[in-house]
């Protein structure tokens, strides 16, 4: 007798419900902000009103509103998780028994000069997990490379071939590299869709560090099938594989707090959710029709190509009445996080640029109000930093001005009668405590949520350990927050002024960030902390102590950055039972597969640094790599679009033949980077080079080629 598919409770979402939910949610945040802002205004009134106090009040209202919205996400999320949330996409229709025979889905991995070992092992883990579901034949995998480093390009091809051979996945896992990486990731996806999009009803976007459980992939397709008006479903990826102390705190925070926050987010967003750029399934047809991004008018930083494409794509999908949902209760969707504060800031910088650009998209006609809310929250995620800094500086200015002018700081009666009983200090303390509660409440509620769920509690190592971890994470985030404030301020200002801030590649030792690199990146923070602290101490030692959490983060930034990047400390915290997450307590199969394969690579891969232009040497000299590369180039030319690009690029011209001659006679150093790429894009010249490099007598070749040939002839 066939097994009966599991049933889920079916509920429908009336459209009117979203409007009501939006009203209730944001009214709560506004109400809370209104009350506390009134208290704050009263405090300012008591100390004597001035123009600078107006500025302070405005800044307070904005910042508190942001904190209140965050808090409400926690509060609403907590209640929904406690009492049940019927309006989840996984709960609206019975999808588990849905037949997906004949439904084609592409799983795409856009990559750009990534560590191909990690990318491919993530893909392998996902693929193997999908095989176990028995639904492999409904999926194709695509590695969509935009890599501009020739060595990476060749390595990607070689490892792709190894992967398909090992998995017997020829015709299931494909590799494609663009000649021209125009429009970055969104252009990469568009290029894929233009070539193959019509073959697939859905496509699933994965990041270079994504891993998806096979069952989750299948569930997403089933969900899309039972919801024909849904255009996009975003999963909530769990952060995994963190080893450093910083990475593990972020991972812990993500695993413990995110379920509560996202439940709160889903409360008001419902079918007008958002897209985070990866670990999401997308209906191909409407995406192709409506989500191709136009160039924004004007110049950089706001005009030109839309950098953070995901939010805008979700907004465009919603504009055309396609539903966008968060499937926040689907497990088996993973991503990784930066392992150090500096790496994290580098990522923040990219995101900041993209989010600020959304301030222009906000004005696009026809967007849904909820989509605009997503964009606003994204923008203020970065504007909060400079606003907070402005608040602190204004506060300091008022204090210094008062001191300097010798004005009285004796407080008068509050205009709210029952507050007059409080002294000015008690009044200030009350506001401070309310702010702290608003900021900390979601964390506390996440802990209560954990306490209510016995199996989940064990997945975090028990309630006591989870509570200790929350306290430790709070201490760390308190120290980290002022640094983020300074970083975000810098990113916002430089972006608005259109100044490109060059960031050197992270200099990491095997253990993490080096002291020298941390010094280069944080000396400014330390100096600001010291000068600020000294000035405050001079003005008023009592005030100085109130500011110590902010100043400590700045002054201690260098050791904090170095020490939290240490894997050793991450491991020590783990053995002490700190920051444990469900995936650390019980490693899922797909992550186990990833980890063991990465270990094998670590033990077996040649650790010696490769020679300069190793990719070029490999593609010319290795008979098999040359054959793979040339075959891929030949096949690509079957696409008229690519063929045109090849011609435009100059491949196939006599110039490339001359460059090939020069390459053999004078070595790769004599060619520019673009010339080397051109040679590597010309299949005819590459076949010729392979032949010539092996046929010509050694004395007619440059020492570079002779050394490379010698290396190949000794290779095991």
């Amino acid at each position: 007798m066939p097994e009966k598919p599991p049933q889920v409770q079916v509920t429908s979402v009336p459209r009117v419900q979203r409007g009501w939910r939006l009203f209730v949610f944001y009214s709560s945040a506004l109400l809370l902000t209104g009350v506390v802002s009134l208290l704050f205004a009263d405090l300012l009134w008591r100390t004597g009103w001035s123009a600078s106090r107006t500025v302070l009040l405005v800044l307070f209202v904005i910042l508190f509103l942001l904190a209140a919205v965050g808090c409400m996400h926690g509060v609403y999320g907590f209640f929904l998780r406690t009492f049940g949330d019927r309006c989840r996409i996984t709960n609206l229709k019975n999808y588990l028994g849905q037949n997906i025979d004949g439904i084609s889905t592409a799983v795409v991995f856009p990559i750009y000069n990534e560590d191909s070992v990690r990318v491919y092992e993530g893909l392998r883990a996902t693929y193997e997990s999908l095989v176990k579901t028995g639904h492999l034949d409904r999926f194709d995998f695509f590695i969509l490379s935009d890599s501009t480093d020739p060595d990476k390009w060749i390595e990607e091809e070689r490892r792709w071939f190894d992967l398909i051979r090992e998995l017997d996945a020829l015709g299931k896992i494909y590799y494609r590299r663009r000649l021209d990486n125009e429009s970055r990731k969104s252009g990469n996806i568009r290029d894929f869709l233009s070539a193959w999009g019509r073959r697939y009803r859905y496509f699933m976007v994965c990041d270079a560090d994504s891993i998806m459980r096979g069952e989750t992939l299948v569930s997403l397709v089933k969900l899309m099938e039972v919801h024909p008006t849904t255009g996009l479903i975003q999963t909530v990826p769990a952060i995994v594989n963190a080893e450093s102390l910083f990475g593990r705190t972020q991972q812990f925070a993500n695993r413990l707090y995110a379920p509560v926050f996202i439940a709160g987010l889903n409360y008001w967003a419902l079918d007008l959710g958002n897209y985070w750029g990866h670990n999401a399934i997308i209906r191909t047809e409407p995406f192709m029709q409506f989500c191709d991004l136009p160039q924004l008018p004007g110049q950089k930083p706001f005009g030109g190509q839309i950098l953070s494409h995901d939010f805008v794509e979700a907004a465009l999908m919603s504009r055309e009445n396609w539903e966008v949902w968060f499937a926040y209760d689907l497990e088996g969707s993973y991503e990784e996080t930066p392992q150090a504060m500096i790496e994290n800031a580098q990522r923040e910088r990219r995101w900041c640029q993209g989010n600020l650009q959304h301030s222009l998209v906000l004005f696009a006609k026809g967007l849904r109000g909820v989509s605009r809310l997503h964009l606003i929250l994204g923008i203020f995620g970065y504007l909060a930093g400079p606003l907070w800094l402005a608040f602190l500086l204004t506060f300091n200015f008022i204090y210094a001005y008062q001191k300097h002018t010798g004005l009285s700081d004796i407080t008068v009666q509050a205009f709210t009668p029952y507050l007059s009983a409080l002294s000015g200090t008690a009044h200030a303390l009350l506001i401070f405590l309310i702010c702290m509660v608003v900021i900390m409440l979601p964390k506390f509620l996440a802990l209560i949520d954990l306490a209510n769920d016995w199996p989940r509690r064990r997945e975090f190592g028990g309630l006591a350990r989870a509570t200790t971890s929350v306290v430790a994470e709070t201490v760390f985030s308190t120290l980290h927050a002022p640094l983020l404030m300074l970083w975000h301020t810098r990113f916002v200002v430089t972006n608005i002024l259109g100044i490109s801030v060059g960031w050197a590649t992270q200099k990491r030792s095997a253990e993490g960030t080096t002291w020298l690199f941390a010094l280069q990146r944080h000396w400014g923070h330390t100096l600001i902390g010291l000068v600020w602290g000294a000035l405050m101490w001079q003005f008023e030692p009592a005030l100085f102590w109130w500011f110590t959490p902010v100043l400590a983060g700045m002054v201690l930034s260098i050791p904090l950055s170095v020490l939290t990047s240490r894997r050793r400390l991450g491991a020590r915290a783990r053995s002490a039972g700190l920051f444990l997450t469900p995936e650390e307590i019980k490693l899922p199969d797909e992550l186990l597969s990833l980890r063991s394969n990465m270990k094998i690579h670590e033990l077996t891969d040649d650790a010696t640094p490769s020679r300069a232009h190793a990719g070029l040497a490999e593609v010319v000299l290795d008979p098999y790599v040359n054959a793979i590369h040339v075959s891929l180039l030949r096949e690509k030319q079957l696409n008229p679009v690519y063929a045109e690009q090849f011609t435009k690029f100059g491949a196939g011209s006599d110039r490339v033949q001359k460059l090939g001659e020069k390459l053999l006679a004078e070595g790769p150093e004599k060619l520019s980077a673009s010339e080397r790429m051109l040679v590597m894009s010309d299949q005819r010249v590459l076949v010729w080079l392979h032949q010539q490099a092996w046929q010509r007598p050694g004395e007619t070749l440059t020492p570079w080629w002779r050394a490379a040939i010698l290396e190949y002839s000794r290779r095991d």
Binding site: F142, F161, G298, A364, A627, P640, W694, G698
Partner: protein
């Protein structure tokens, strides 16, 4: 025939082989061996045998081309032998126009796992095992399924009056002027706050 061949490959009284010093043939040997090594022929006996087979052909050709080095002749012979063998195994005639047969052959060797399973078949005259020939002939590398070309067209975003504002950025020195205006505003704000 046998004696003629031996005569060709044995050094003469002056120590020269096919009109060239032994050292030159040593270089040619290394060149051919290196290439077969790059093709992952790891069995030393087989490797030596294949190299000698190529050198035999080169030595037969060498007396007719006194101006060319032994290495050049051997490398050409190696290419010829390999391409001829690909042609036979893949049942595909070599073309002068391009070297697609060589590429296809090498790819087929890899896909059929010649280095792992069929080393002894490499350059061996036929007939070959059925499994080997079918693996070689069916070898084809695909980067993607058949193209289904379509074109995505971006739909412009109507930003309303903001578009006009963004166009201001095109005026020369606009940004500089904007920074000065902001600076002046800041001074005014500071003045208001302090008075």
């Amino acid at each position: 025939m046998e004696s003629a061949l031996n005569a060709a490959i044995l050094p003469d009284a002056s120590g020269r082989l096919a009109g060239r010093p032994l050292e030159e043939w040593n270089g040619a040997y290394a060149k051919v061996e290196n290439y077969f090594h790059a093709l992952r022929i790891r069995n030393k006996v087989l490797l030596g045998d294949l190299v000698l087979r190529v050198l035999e052909r080169a030595q037969r050709r060498a007396p007719a081309e006194p101006d060319r080095s032994a290495t050049q002749i051997a490398a050409e012979e190696m290419e010829r032998i390999v391409t001829e063998w690909f042609s036979e195994v893949l049942q595909s005639p070599p073309t002068k126009a391009d070297n697609s047969l060589s590429t296809r052959g090498r790819l087929a060797l890899l896909l059929a796992d010649m280095p792992g399973r069929w080393q002894e078949q490499f350059l061996r005259p036929g007939p070959w095992p059925e499994e080997f020939t079918s693996a070689m002939r069916e070898a084809f590398l695909r980067a993607g399924p058949d193209f289904q070309i379509s074109k995505m067209a971006p739909r412009p975003l109507d930003l309303g009056p903001i578009t006009t504002l963004t166009n201001l950025g095109r005026f020369p020195y606009f940004r500089m002027a904007l920074i000065w205006v902001l600076f002046a505003l800041m001074l005014i704000v500071v003045f208001i706050l302090t008075h």
